[in-house]
Symmetry: C2
Subunit: 469 residues, 2 copies
Amino acid sequence: MLPPKQNFSEWFHELIQQAEILDVRYPVKGLYVWFPFGFKIRRYVYEKLREIMDRDHEEVYFPTLIPESVLRKESQHIKGFENEVFWVTFGGSTPLDVKLALRPTSETPMYEMFALWIRTHADLPLKVYQIVNVFRYETKHTRPLIRVREITSFKEAHTVHRNYEEAEEQVKKAICYYKEFYDFLAIPYMVIRRPDWDKFPGAAYTVAFDTIMLDGRTMQIATVHNLADNFSKTFGITYEDVDGQHKFANQTCYGISERCVASMIAIHGDDNGLVLPFEVAPIQVVIIPIPYRGREDEVIKACRDVAEKLKKFRVLLDDSEDRPGAKYYKWELKGVPVRIEIGPREVENGEVVVSFRDEKKKFSLKVEELREEKILEWAKEMRERLRRKAVENLKSMISFIKELSNLDAKGVKVFHLCENRECGLEIEKFGVSLLGWFEEIPDWMNFPKEGECIVCGSRGKLAASAKTY
Amino acid sequence: MLPPKQNFSEWFHELIQQAEILDVRYPVKGLYVWFPFGFKIRRYVYEKLREIMDRDHEEVYFPTLIPESVLRKESQHIKGFENEVFWVTFGGSTPLDVKLALRPTSETPMYEMFALWIRTHADLPLKVYQIVNVFRYETKHTRPLIRVREITSFKEAHTVHRNYEEAEEQVKKAICYYKEFYDFLAIPYMVIRRPDWDKFPGAAYTVAFDTIMLDGRTMQIATVHNLADNFSKTFGITYEDVDGQHKFANQTCYGISERCVASMIAIHGDDNGLVLPFEVAPIQVVIIPIPYRGREDEVIKACRDVAEKLKKFRVLLDDSEDRPGAKYYKWELKGVPVRIEIGPREVENGEVVVSFRDEKKKFSLKVEELREEKILEWAKEMRERLRRKAVENLKSMISFIKELSNLDAKGVKVFHLCENRECGLEIEKFGVSLLGWFEEIPDWMNFPKEGECIVCGSRGKLAASAKTY
């Protein structure tokens, strides 16, 4: 049995194990095993991400091991990662001449090579991505999918442009790609520009996607960075422009980790287990025969006919020995979006009983109406229901405040804030993180866009704070 | 310019860089960067491998980092890998309590968990695979794709069965899967059972796939191991059988590394560059307009119409400013299987000129005959030509010998050998490796299956030796 979702932290941990997403019993802190079922979800989620990235990027693969000298080239960057880098120091029993870092992210090895790849303006823009394992020596409390020592599928994109404006343009595109991706997963988000002191180490600025958990803490689920020419100056990424001049390139990078899977599980799941959007569910339709002594054969035959009819989808006919109640329990836990039950009465009437994972109600449908288009329509409706519910939940945990003393209540606090660093730091004295300023105001958010800074009273823009994962 | 293929080693190294498969300039020995073009080949090759594996296995992901205690559990196994393991010893500036190995392969972390996963006969067989990066501290001469310190896409499958017979059955199936895979790549192979002293550390026996390079050295491109109950006894993988008894499971594992890409490049390539089977070519059809002053527009229009007609495939219309000769050179280097040229004469006649990457001849074809089925037919014929050519080449480098003194000549030597260890070791005194005994005799090999052992004269079976990669 799962703990109720209200006990969010335990519920999440138990669900990850019981629904067979990850095995949390691997004998190293912060490392987990993807079960076959969990891996399928990961595969479908990342297939979508890959499809989106492939439109505007080419996939590459850079080595996992980074020589210390390369990692240390950009001084701001290494400061940000220094304490969390795993170091390889031995090959067999031989100490290595050069210490090798396990990539925490791939700016440095990539940009070392980009300096060789880029010669002239004709080589630009360069837009690549990779989906790889990256490593962080997390000393804080680790959590499966959320705070881990091996991110097993980090999607990192890196682009190189002629000037700042083109990099800026790419940042906007990246935000659009990520919106499409999270809309696909029915995950609501806030697009927020991080404070300068909380940006990616080495970036000009950072825009992040934050979503919210049931306990009122936010989780960063994507970041987009404009690197300007900070890295290109360090790594010597120059190009000969049309005018013959040699110029430093401008760069961006943006990433999504398996927190995309975490957020989907955490936000849509309920007391009974996973609730998965149709497109990423390993089993999309489960067919459960309702046995009745002496009529098993016709029931099973009807089930098989329906399975055959829906074979374009990932359909499972559960003809195991378990009782129907046990099957309901099992497939609810696994988040199967569509359940079809067939008993003797349905066989007689040429019907099936349908229910959706995210709704309580059941209804009957004539078999001939059970067509591919019907299922796809349900899938679309379900995604919309999940999205609406998640947005409502997000909204319910956001409040607009005008008094600093209200900052530490549960949830996301929205207020006006000027760009003065002192004012920002004042916010964080209340034990919350200043997420930053809204880069875009969500269409469901109606707070005034500008107003008096909650700290100093001068002109401020819409900002948000929360406790974070 | 490429060196001629006769200078195999330089040719291979140059081709990998010039055709933009891997960038060999990464500043750590034995580590390479996959260029976008190379990555696409890798992706198509591994999609096929995944498709084959998915029929009989589920995909999983196990952590990259293995605690020393787990890696050392199986004493034979660790002996085989001890000298090539990279060790992570620091997180940030903190020495780790437990040294962590970068997986050289995943038997130990997987089997540690399998012991938790498997309870009864109902949990068996268990068949999983993963495609992951693995690490070997190679001290010998490294070579891109062939001998590397990070194998970026190691496909390893692991299965658990009730008894030895079922494991044996799975070994046979695995051999079939790998044959299908290499047939798809038009790579010929010899299926050979390794001598006992050269088997996988911890296995009962090892069957390997060997193919041959132009310099007469063989390359191991796949291995299949029956582990019997060796590992299950160490890791405590037991199950309750139908009779209520607790028994040790039997296991197999089998793997393919990116040497599959290496062999495809090395075997099919020629003096002009890559020759790729149609199915895995990043660009399958290139269309080259032959310009003629004043008629550029109609030529380009005809090219676009053909591109549109073939859009189901990966088609590139090269309308760059380069001269046709430069385009031929470039796309031959990149191994594009089908080239279509269109000039004013072709426009007038409603024709195209077609040539295939692996053949010298060109021919004309009416545009209306240029249909999808036609292209697929060409793809099939081309694969068959590549396969035949590769088999002919393999055959030409195999000779049957009756005298030990002939062992050290170039190529593969086939002879009769008994199973006596001393006789086997005698072979290796000639500076070659004893590959082992043929598990299956290829249909194109007509040597007598049994005969007198080339060393001691007692009854022997068909065996092979060669210099190896």
